[in-house]
């Protein structure tokens, strides 16, 4: 870890004004500390936003939906009864991440912006494409936990569980920069390796996430999220799925099926969504949708097991959302 300055921000404007490419934002500090310790990041200054007022609130409005501050912790999301009732996928995604101790510290903004957990990326010993090198070590190497979609250039999986849930729920981000404020659909915020291999999203160097908004759920809609790890305690998913279903009567009118731990970004399984729309959800249609989700998977040497695994988790999540 290098030596750095510590700056305590008291307002968003003050925090943003300090961002100059040699500073980094520190909120929960969970992911940042890992990166600092490994020397992946060596910022001159840490700008602590943890104590900014008013950014840790959860507000829900029947019409406009859910407004979340970026400093809301995963533990808060897990415990909030409204989030759990109306935005179930988000509550379950937050509640199954990491460990209770980490969930108490980890913020939603930080969770969305965390860097990938790929073991090659995380080790200073591997100068991979993501760090400006010329190889993806995973593609030819130890890739059992890597991507089964969109893995030709860089085989990371996006690490954020809440991202999968929020994309399924149609969330938008509010980003505040030194000069302007903008809103972006979360799904469009993430970048594939082909778009920009050095980063996973399009946040500007001087921008801060200042809000996360989730539209109010449609009348007859339900969401669900299932994480499958090798272990339950303190493990990353080997498959995770967030599903949002809107129905008229028993038939699905709109479906979102988002896969985490599958691709470098939260991955929308369009084939699965198409297989659901217009149908009544049952064991058979859920299975068909799950198989459709995996139709175009391109597993690597060690992660072929993820295909049948995802089929199971997609099917189970669809059935859970339709319950």
């Amino acid at each position: 870890m290098n030596r750095f300055e510590w700056a305590e921000a008291t307002t968003v404007a003050e925090a943003v004004s300090q961002l100059n490419g040699r500073s980094v934002i520190k909120a929960g500090g969970v992911d940042l500390l890992d990166r600092l310790k490994e020397g992946l990041d060596a910022p001159e200054r840490l700008v602590n936003i943890r104590n900014l007022k008013g950014l840790d609130r959860i507000r829900d409005d029947a019409k406009t939906g859910l407004a979340l501050g970026p400093l809301v912790t995963l533990a808060q999301l897990d415990a909030d009864p409204t989030v759990r009732r109306r935005y179930t996928a988000l509550a379950d995604a937050a509640g199954h991440a990491a460990t209770p101790q980490i969930r108490n510290m980890a913020t939603l903004g930080g969770n969305l912006l965390q860097r990938p957990r790929c073991w090659y990326f995380r080790s200073a010993q591997f100068h991979c494409r993501k760090k400006g090198g010329e190889r993806c070590f995973a593609i030819e190497g130890e890739n059992q936990y890597h991507a089964i979609f969109d893995n030709k250039l860089c085989a990371i999986v996006h690490p954020s569980a809440t991202a999968a849930a929020l994309v399924a729920l149609g969330a938008r981000l509010e980003l505040t920069g030194a000069k302007k404020r903008r809103e972006v659909l979360l799904e469009e915020f993430f970048l594939t390796p082909e778009q920009d291999i050095r980063r996973e999203n399009s946040i500007g160097a001087d921008e801060l996430i200042t809000g996360i908004r989730v539209p109010a759920p449609a009348a007859n809609s339900r969401s669900a999220y299932i994480k499958q790890g090798e272990k339950e305690s303190f493990d990353w998913p080997i498959a995770e799925v967030a599903v949002m279903l809107e129905r008229e009567g028993a038939r699905v009118t709109r479906a979102s099926v988002i896969l985490g731990a599958a691709a470098p970004i939260p991955f929308r399984a369009r084939e699965a969504e198409a297989a659901l729309v217009g149908r009544v959800v049952n064991e058979e249609t859920a299975r068909a949708a799950a198989e459709a989700a995996m139709r175009n998977a391109t597993p690597l040497s060690e992660n072929g097991y993820k295909v049948p695994l995802f089929e199971t988790v997609v099917r189970r999540t669809i059935l859970t959302a339709a319950r």
Binding site: S123, E140, G141, Q144, I148, E230, S301, N303, V307
Partner: protein
Amino acid sequence: MSTQVQAKRRKKRRAGKATTASSKTAKASANAGPASAPTGDAPVPKAATEQARAAKAAKGNEAKPTRKEMMPSGIFGAIMTEVERNIPLDEPPPLPVNAKLSVIGKRTPRIDGHLKVTGAARYTSDVRLPGMLYARLITSPHPHARIRLIDTTQAERHPSVRAVHVLDRVLGNAELRDKSKELPGKYPIVRFAGQPVAAIAATSQVEADEAARLVRVDYEVLPFVVNLEEARKPDAPLVFPGPADQAATAGGGGGPAGVPQKGNVRGPVKGGPQGRARGDVQKGFDEADVVSEGEFRTQVQTHSALETHGVVADWRSDELVVYSSTQGTSSVRDELAEIFKLPKSKVRVVTEFMGGGFGAKFGAGNYGVLAAHLSKKAKAPVRLMLDRKDEHLSVGNRPDSVQRLKIGAKRDGTLTAIHLQVYGTAGTGTGAGTGGPAQNMYACPNILTEESDVFTHSGPAAAFRAPGHPQGCFALEQLIDELAERLQLDPLALRDKIDESPARREERRIGAERVNWANRHAPGADRGAIKRGLGVAQSVWYRLINLDSSCEVRVTRDGSIELLSGVQDIGGGIRTALAQVVAEEFGLRPSAITIRIGDTSFPGGPASGGSMTTGSITPVARNAAYNVKKQMLEQIAPQFNATAEQLEMRDGAIFMRGATGGHASESRASTRKLLSFKQAAARLKTEQIAARSSRSDDYGGFAFKNEAAAFGFGIGIYGGVQFAEVAVDTETGVIKVERVVAVHDCGRPVNPLAVESQINGGVIQGISYALYENRLLDRNTGLMVNPNLEQYKIVGSRETPRIEAVLIEEYVGRNSTDAGGIGEPATIPTVAAIANAFYNATGVRLYEMPMTPARVLAALGRAAKMKGGLS
């Protein structure tokens, strides 16, 4: 099974106790091969004199005057009898069974528990000395390299740096038999990524880390091989350019010398229950009605103790004091004394508390040697604790294995042949054999094990909780189950037929009742995605005794009692067991006894390994306590016109014994209280009285004794039977262990609470090994991709099942406490029990660990759906 059998088998184990990687020790380990069961403490006799020594050992205590006494013998609650033994005159009368005692055998909370939970207990990593410096290791980033140059000038210019030291010799790796086969160089050849090269000491950890980055090392990178199968190929890069041996070291690992080596493959060493093959396996297979065979694979597991390896070394003008996270204070002292050419009396090693070792913490270690050098140079104490990455890479692991096992049997179940061929890599070390269970578990006239070490460019193995045995059981116990199925026998019925251990027979009976074995369903009988199953597997381990076990017990006039011994608590709770044994003798509570251990300035204690601590040191504690008590009673008795023999101590007081005599508990009614223990102590003639004892031979001797190493293999074995219930999600491949019933024996349990705790730990570590832990080396770079506790996956609270530890009391009448060990037996059968339960759940066998979703889905035939393969 005859115990001579085990003893002889043991002759091929590499030594370790109180010895170092010196030429002296290399000589001592003069034969045989990839040790099946290196415990870090098993000394190595010479084959030539083995018979004579065994015969001599069998007599036991022959030089001492003895008396004959009857001792309890058998399994309490099942088959109990008495056995006559010759007991040295200076040792106490035999203890009755636990039910008749007041402290021993009672569930006793740890006397140091409050210190641990409040954080007051001082572990090595907590040691802070005035003026202490902090050190950082500099390690090789390459798996195979020649160091051309090391430039430390920049680092030395750093204002906070106080010393830099470059290693001129690496401990832990095997070494070339013929050094001339390799070009001489200024620095040791790098043979694995993470190999220590140098260390630096600075005034803070941050600055030490910073300065370490300023050390320039110029590597000539060489070809490497990290994969077992690749390393076996004739054209594989060589780890050693000629035959290499790992001298028995205090640091663990290692194996016998002189084994044939071709390329990276060292072996095979042929073995069996007699130290050599028994009978003729080919003939045995010819006679068999049924032959089962299979190939079983296990992965590399790292010890991953909570406290990493480390020391605080304080090189003073008059002595070297080292606070070390070690399971062998004596062996660390001896190794440092030899390396630094100091008298042992000028090296003091202290281990007040330690956060786990599992076999990897016997020696001084490269880090310990470096810290001592740095302290000597800087003239200040130096703290060097490894970080988690170094811990995974450079201080030991459990070797992997590819085991081809074949078993033949008659139609009635009688075994006719067992043949095991195993290859495993202990990295740059040796000792990957897994033959122990195949050699020693079941009665069979023809047994052959062929064990080969395969060198790879990866960190050297070290002894790890029952070396070779969990792996060996993974193969043996699955194949025994398969054999039972083919013979249409219940797995327990087959074991009743072929297993001669009375303890395991009783343990099978108890366990079967607990888990309702009779109602076990047929393999794969559950409908639906989640399938449940029940499996069983057995343990075999050895009654190892370290005769270099001493202690002193003191009584002072204020009535306080102290015990002093160099023995350290690896975490099993030996402090409490010692307090119980002494308290029982004085008729006091354990909390009344002060236990001072983990310091080589006390009488020497045994290393905590091989499940031998309790069996080695508790008899010594009782004998010393008995002798001080005798002194005390001899001083008190005349004041009551009595003889010492007429007095007894119990319930905190001194009593006049009635006419009947015998043990205190049997004669209570007819005794009369004279004065309290405190009052009696106040009447002592001197401020303090004390007695010192050292471990005597077991009553009736040992199956085998190594005089030179002061080491005995007791007569008889430890058993242990575990039953596992699992739920398999056949659609995700996730195995969940729901319940484990673990029925074990450890001689006389001194503290059942602590024994159960060790069983819990053994089961949990076994589950972790079976399902999750896996040291993964990148195939293209040879670097470990998961050197942390995030992606090196270890069982957590949610994966911990209901564990029911059941203890039987087995009395063998071999020493004054008759206590034994449990650490290793408790983890040996867990992986195999889970594997057998998986088969019962699904009707499919898993031949490879860890049993991950990837492997489960492949085994269940869902691999057909996979577009990618599996390695």
